[in-house]
């Protein structure tokens, strides 16, 4: 079947009940999304499908026909990181880093819908994603910074830069 990931169409040869995560990692070599628990309980596998954050470990290919999938690779590159990636680097929000791709995708889905979330809204949105190192406060700061970056990036030239 056809799978649209990060704006590119891929022809995938896999059973329709294969979880998306396996196809991303094994067939398309998009290794950002991680296998954590395989049960939808840790969030390390989170990607975006048609704007919604989903657990790619629990979503079979047959549920993704025609949907636009975004992974961390679709947010920017090493040379040119997107605002969310920039913010996570600036805040040094990763310790071991295993959860971070999922955290970023969950945050990306939130910020697309709600560009100025309150702290409580960020916490509620990120609830399905676990971090075992304990960098939660940095992750929260990074999401706030990303929201600021996204706003200033779309502001007219010469707009006031965020100081945070």
């Amino acid at each position: 079947m056809k799978l649209k990931v990060n704006g590119r169409e891929h022809e995938v040869d896999a059973d329709p009940d294969t979880p998306l995560l396996y196809v991303l990692r094994n067939d398309l070599a998009l290794n950002a999304a991680k296998f954590g628990c395989g049960l939808g309980q840790c969030g390390a596998c989170t990607v975006i499908a048609d704007g919604e954050a989903i657990f790619s470990c629990l979503t079979p290919l047959l549920a993704l026909e025609g949907k636009a999938i975004t992974t961390v690779e679709g947010l920017g590159s090493v040379e040119n990181p997107g605002p969310l990636q920039r913010a996570f680097i600036d805040e040094q929000a990763a310790q071991c880093g295993y959860c971070i791709a999922g955290m970023m995708m969950r945050a990306e889905a939130l910020l697309r819908k709600n560009p100025q979330p309150a702290d409580a809204e960020i916490r509620a949105a990120l609830m399905p994603n676990l971090c075992r190192c304990g960098t939660h406060m940095r992750i929260l700061r990074a999401v706030r910074r990303a929201a600021d970056l996204m706003r200033t990036a779309s502001a007219p030239e010469g707009g006031k830069r965020s100081e945070r």
């Binding site: 009940d17 919604e52 079979p60 047959l62 609830m127």
Partner: protein, 453 residues
């Protein structure tokens, strides 16, 4: 409800209100008193009152989401409009701070407030009227010594003519029978204790008994299943859809721990009910379990589906699960999204319950299964608890319909749910129905789990 039925209901209520007005519409106010000081009550009495308040689940209705306990203000959407629970903390102006014990007793026994106004029967005084004098005394002692919270509940938004409280007098004439619990001499002391707690305090029937068009529990259909806040409260009588027999022991464990190894975890509003039973003594929980088990008459029941040989069940369901042309394949979705937990064999409460044992797939309506699958089960705050991810964002209506049709066909022996896709669509467009499961805080979660069926 059709226009005709609504009209009929209003006319009936109007006539009853007129009659009721003549009989018992008017009650005099009871003089305000200064609340007794906390030290005037025996701590043992306060503990007893606290236990009763827990069984009666008072805090669930009288606390707004995120609000202070007993300060009221929680909205209840009823077919007749929205009612807000009042503040029952002892604040003199906005709560019950000026209520004497007589006023408090009259509210529970007759559904009339201190000022003499009728209370709407969303407050289950049809049950609380059965409480003993001693228990009402303990409840009064408990509530009048809580921390006062100044908070005025929003005004009710009820349809005419129900916005006039005297209409309730008519309702009472039709449906309300005041008076204490009458023990059944043919039953054991424990059974009677359980029946008293269930009928008078716990008011299980308020959710588990269906209501008529005027909002009263149907007398002839006790415990045959009702609805509450967008959830189905399963039948507790012989019509129970549970595929595994409940026993007094397993019910006791379920009410104590919030889950039972042969049935799974309590979900939806029932998880909150069980949260409230934490300090209720084992004797009382055991009595409740004994009574509820006897309501269903489980001991003489035929073996339930999940107790039959597995091969038979699989053969029966294989035919029913045959997909129609064009259906999204429910079985494949099940394998990819559900089987990882529900067929993993991991022990409860953290593993998923095998669905042939779960009541949801065998229930009369798909309501609860839809709620759980769409909105998941979030973790209990600050405690270990079972959780389930939400699937509203990853499966569309057609895929969910296929999945749940498969679950119904595969894990129950009941006919397919009618209007499944429409129910899913309605639930998805409504408010999210996520309730955390009961927190598991015993050191030994497998302890006291009741007999294996």
């Amino acid at each position: 409800m059709t226009v005709f039925k609504t009209l009929l209901a209003i006319i009936t209520l109007g006539l009853a209100a007129a009659a009721g007005f003549a009989v018992n519409a008017w009650h005099s106010p009871i003089d305000p008193v200064f609340p007794p000081k906390a030290g005037t009550f025996d701590p043992e009495l306060l503990r007893h009152g606290a236990g009763l308040a827990e069984i009666a689940n008072c805090n669930s209705c009288h606390t707004a989401p995120g609000g202070r306990v007993f300060a009221g203000g929680r909205a209840f959407a009823t077919p007749f409009g929205t009612i807000y629970s009042p503040n029952i903390s002892p604040d003199p102006e906005t709560g019950i701070g000026l209520w004497s014990e007589d006023a408090f007793r009259r509210a529970l026994a007759e559904g009339v407030d201190r000022q003499g106004r009728h209370l709407y029967p969303v407050f289950p005084y049809d049950h609380f009227t059965r409480l003993t004098r001693e228990d009402v005394h303990a409840l009064y002692a408990y509530f009048i010594t809580r921390e006062p919270v100044r908070a005025k509940a929003p005004a009710n938004e009820l349809r005419f003519p129900l916005n006039f409280r005297f209409v309730v007098a008519g309702w009472k004439l039709l449906f309300f029978r005041q008076g204490p619990y009458r023990p059944d001499a043919g039953q054991s002391e424990q059974w009677n204790r359980g029946a008293y707690l269930v009928e008078a305090a716990a008011h299980c029937g308020a959710c588990h008994t269906p209501r008529n068009s005027l909002g009263a529990e149907k007398a002839g259909e006790r415990f045959s299943g009702g609805e509450i806040e967008g959830w189905s409260a399963y039948a507790l009588n012989a019509a129970s859809p549970a595929p595994v027999r409940w026993t007094a022991e397993s019910l006791h464990a379920y009410l104590r721990n919030g889950w039972q190894r042969a049935h799974g975890a309590a979900l939806g509003p029932m998880a909150e009910v069980i949260d409230n039973l934490e300090s209720v003594p084992d004797d009382d929980l055991g009595a409740i379990a004994t009574y509820v088990a006897s309501v269903a008459g489980w001991t003489n029941a035929e073996p339930r589906r999940a107790e039959k040989p597995v091969t038979l069940a699989l053969t029966e369901s294989a035919a029913a699960a045959t997909p129609r042309e064009g259906d999204a394949p429910g079985g494949e979705i099940f394998q990819a999204t559900c089987a990882g937990c529900h067929e993993s064999g991991r022990p409860l409460p953290y593993g998923g319950v095998p669905l042939d044992k779960s009541t949801g797939p065998s229930a009369a309506t798909p309501t609860n299964v839809i709620n759980i699958v769409l909105w998941g089960v979030p973790p209990a705050e600050g405690k270990r608890s079972p959780i389930m991810p939400a699937f509203a964002d990853s499966l569309d209506d057609r895929q969910l319909t296929a999945l749940l049709a498969y679950v119904r066909a595969h894990f129950s022996d009941k006919p397919a749910w009618a209007d499944l896709e429409r129910s899913i669509r309605t639930a998805r467009n409504g408010p999210p129905m996520a309730y955390p499961a009961h927190g598991i805080d015993t050191g030994e979660p497998a302890a006291q789990q009741g007999e294996e069926p």
